[in-house]
């Protein structure tokens, strides 16, 4: 049966689902983002306690010490739902892919001097393991976090980090003309070279951090807030200045991605901090606990890359991070 009538005579009974009306108020038309993230995590009538966490319910707000009246307030300013996320990333992928093939085909990195090449393979390629760590941490947040806005965005962030790890692998392979030994060397550096151990220990400590919001602060705010600018701003500048303009083509994705992922981290932390003094105190305590260690780990790496300029650069990075902290309502400790 196909009813053929003028669609003008078809009147809608309602604009959206009840739980969205409750949230946005009567008469509002929700966006697809709002329909995708509001009201989907089960809230009550849990049948069984998890065998892996019998003290709590399957979805339980108490897996973080942060207390929110409504965890759905931790919105993603980019308003990504699955469709918009993959479409946006596939556009970026296209230009990243072009960059890779231009650099590869024309051998644009080949003329780079040996010192710079060595630095890239010692600094950038081993960082794929840190990105893998970030991938794991974001899936932790996605799995054990509370409500959909933060867990969906953490899933995208997790995917992004696996992509980052794979892009870094590609950079290594371009440098080595597809000789995988460069990856094995980089892993060896990651596991054994002193300058990486500060970061590796931090990443391993993050793996056993149980509070998912603390992990969000540690990974997506502090570790990223220090290491992304260190590698993809300061180190990249260094390479570019030394005749490696092509290197910037290979890391374009990182730069764009960091700008947007920072927006997400800042805005979610800001909302939590604004909610209550207790949340604010908690986030401050986490930042005070972790930031010095993150900075110390970055110091170790910076010294190898920037030698005598390293103190300056690290200070610059920390000043920027502190400025971000102030903006999102966090009291910054005197250094």
């Amino acid at each position: 049966m196909s009813i053929d009538i003028k669609t003008a005579t078809i009147e809608a009974k309602r604009t959206t689902f009840d739980h969205i009306v409750e949230k946005l108020g009567e008469g509002k038309t929700p966006t697809r983002y709002q329909e995708a993230v509001f009201g989907h995590q089960a809230e009550e009538v849990f049948h069984y306690r998890p065998t892996w966490d019998s003290e709590r319910e399957l979805f339980d707000a108490r897996r973080t010490a942060i207390v929110m009246n409504d965890f759905e307030d931790l919105l993603d300013p980019r308003q990504y739902y699955y469709g918009t996320y993959v479409i946006q990333r596939s556009k970026q992928r296209e230009s990243q892919e072009k960059n890779f093939s231009v650099v590869e085909k024309r051998g644009l990195l080949e003329d780079l001097d040996a010192v710079m090449k060595e630095k890239i393979s010692k600094v950038v390629v081993p960082f794929r393991h840190a990105e893998w760590g970030a991938n794991n941490n974001n899936y932790y947040i996605a799995g054990y976090g509370f409500q959909t806005p933060i867990t969906a965005a953490a899933t995208f962030q997790g995917m992004d980090r696996l992509a980052n790890a794979q892009y870094l692998t590609s950079i290594g392979l371009i440098l080595s003309s597809n000789d995988p030994a460069i990856l094995d060397q980089a892993k060896d550096e990651w596991l054994n070279t002193p300058m990486w151990q500060g970061l590796r220990k931090l990443v391993e400590d993050s793996f056993v951090t149980k509070d998912w919001f603390e992990l969000h602060v540690l990974q997506n705010y502090l570790l990223d807030g220090v290491f992304q600018p260190l590698l993809f701003k300061h180190f990249e500048n260094e390479v570019v200045k030394n005749g490696g303009a092509a290197f910037a083509m290979l890391t374009e994705f990182f730069v764009d991605w960091f700008v947007e992922s920072q927006r997400w981290a800042d805005s979610t932390i800001k909302v939590a901090v604004k909610e209550s003094d207790a949340n604010k105190a908690l986030v401050e305590s986490w930042i005070n606990k972790w930031q010095p260690t993150v900075i110390a780990a970055a110091d170790q790496l910076a010294e190898f890359v920037f030698a005598e300029r390293s103190k300056d650069i690290i200070q610059q990075i920390e000043t920027e991070l502190d400025a971000r902290s102030k903006k999102i309502g966090i009291q910054v400790q005197e250094k």
Partner: protein, 508 residues
């Protein structure tokens, strides 16, 4: 370093992309980093033997998926613009969509979250990555379904209160308890339950009838997201088979544990699918195939062949599969009879099938249908014609494991009800079948926690003691429930048909 690059094929490239990303932690104990992958007793000697079934880099994933999403959303937009709900076969069909949206869409969400925990929880990096991809796929299914149904929700009842009834409604405890059972288990049981037992063994019984049913009945939105999800699903099925073989090959001690899970999840999955079978037989105005026929093809042929393949690992057919086969001629009729009598306590409409449909059921199900179920329907039809539409006053007793009302009959006697009791710590628990009884007795500590809706209602925990109070507590209006003929959905549909100059049900 040589300047002439070695050419790499896709597979090599993929292998390198993920090569050695993972490492054995030394600052923290691996058992603290992966605290949940040992307590179930599954022994893994070498995670490197894991074959990654997807072999997808993230950028390739973005590319494929974004192409699918572009097409899908273009169609969803056009469904809304062109009011494509007018093309469905009949408004009764929408109840199949309601069942899906109320019961299955939340499972997609839970699959998303469950696979996220596995994407962090398995010690093997390859397994973690595979679960991460599945997690984000399941998020896709959840969101595309919400977006597809969003348009239908504007016109039809029974979808707007989804986020409330999902947790509260007695009949939605059937899918909810099923998935929560898996999620509250350890990671190996979860993946056995969902990836293998459900997505690999039983998925054809769920997906095929629903998506083909949508296509047959003119539902463009559902058909589109359904077919678009199919390529994701084939990845998920591969993961299911891969993980089972991997666990079985890793250690012989794993075999009995996995056998236990296969027994349990076959039965739980089969019970859940009873709801789908009922939708196929009763809610689709244009039939795709009967439950009996689907069971014969997808279980008795394909499913059994699959288990035969696993025999070399020492895996036996799942316990009670004979019972499931014995029930194939009756389960959907027993189910529909139950929903028919209780539909005033659901956000669904029910009805007595028309004469042509009854004839189709007679042809599909034969003597049993003609002697037991058809007379019952004809009797209820008579009552309805006299203005005495039959409803039960009190909610039925439900099975402590599968949460389905205890309406099932004895495996060898379709006229005798089956209700089995197990006593645990001084409390009696009722089960619908030997299959559910076994499940209860194997893990009484788990199932004695189950939330049993009718008990909760009579204890006054659901807004009051009457069904009226209960409905209010569920946020279901009277208009959303009960008999289809004369319902708001029906009236709206009739109005649309009349506007188009089509014969209405009244006239027919």
């Amino acid at each position: 370093m040589t300047t002439k690059a070695k050419r790499l094929n896709m597979n090599q490239k993929y292998q390198l992309m993920t090569r050695g990303l993972d490492w054995e932690t030394t600052y923290q104990d691996m058992d603290d980093v992966f605290p949940y992958d040992k307590y179930e007793g599954i022994k893994i000697k070498d995670w490197d033997k894991w074959q990654d079934p997807f072999r997808l880099t993230v950028d390739a994933y973005w590319k494929y998926q974004s192409e699918k999403e572009r097409k899908l959303y273009a169609i969803l937009d056009s469904v809304a613009q062109n009011n494509s709900q007018l093309s469905i076969s009949d408004a009764r069909y929408m109840n199949a969509v309601k069942i899906w949206m109320q019961g299955v869409t939340p499972l997609e969400y839970n699959a998303f979250r469950g696979f996220c925990t596995l994407g962090r929880g398995f010690r093997g990096a390859g397994a973690r990555v595979a679960c991460q991809f599945q997690a984000i796929d399941e998020m896709r299914h959840h969101q595309t379904q919400i977006h597809a149904f969003s348009h239908y929700n504007k016109f039809f009842n029974g979808m707007n209160q989804q986020s409330r009834i999902r947790d509260r409604a007695w009949y939605l405890s059937i899918p909810k308890s099923y998935f929560e059972d898996a999620m509250t288990a350890g990671p190996f049981e979860f993946i056995t339950a969902i990836s293998f037992s459900f997505e690999y063994v039983l998925t054809n019984l769920l997906f095929m009838p629903f998506v083909s049913g949508a296509a047959y009945n003119g539902d463009l939105a559902t058909t589109t997201f359904g077919f678009s999800a199919q390529s994701d699903e084939s990845r998920h099925m591969t993961l299911g088979l891969e993980i089972i073989k991997f666990m079985l090959e890793q250690h012989e001690d794993n075999v009995p544990i996995i056998q236990g899970w296969l027994d349990k999840w076959f039965w739980r999955g089969y019970r859940l699918l009873g709801l789908v079978g009922t939708m196929m037989d009763y809610m689709l105005p244009k039939k795709v195939m009967s439950w009996r026929q689907a069971w014969e093809i997808y279980w008795e042929e394909n499913g059994v062949a699959l288990f035969n393949d696993l025999a070399r690992y020492g895996i036996k057919m799942p316990k009670h599969h004979e019972t499931a086969t014995k029930e194939k001629n009756r389960i959907t009729h027993e189910f529909w009879s139950t929903i028919y009598q209780f539909s005033h306590a659901t956000a669904l409409y029910t009805w007595i099938p028309g004469n042509e449909e009854l004839d189709w059921l007679s042809a599909e199900y034969g003597e049993l249908f003609d002697t037991v179920y058809r007379p019952r329907y004809e009797y209820w039809k008579e009552l309805d014609d006299k203005g005495e539409r039959f409803f039960q006053e009190r909610l039925p007793v439900v099975c402590n494991v599968c949460q389905i009302p205890i309406f099932h009959t004895m495996p060898d006697d379709p006229l005798k009800n089956c209700c089995l009791v197990s006593e645990y710590k001084g409390t009696k628990h009722q089960m619908c079948s030997e299959g559910c009884l076994d499940i209860f007795n194997n893990e009484p500590e788990k199932y004695c926690q189950a939330y049993i809706p009718p008990q909760q209602i009579y204890q006054g925990n659901c807004g009051g003691a009457t069904l009226d109070d209960y409905r209010k507590w569920l946020h279901i209006r009277d208009e959303d429930t009960g008999e289809y003929y004369g319902s708001e959905d029906h009236q709206m549909w009739e109005k649309w048909k009349a506007q188009a100059g089509k014969p209405t049900d009244e006239a027919a």
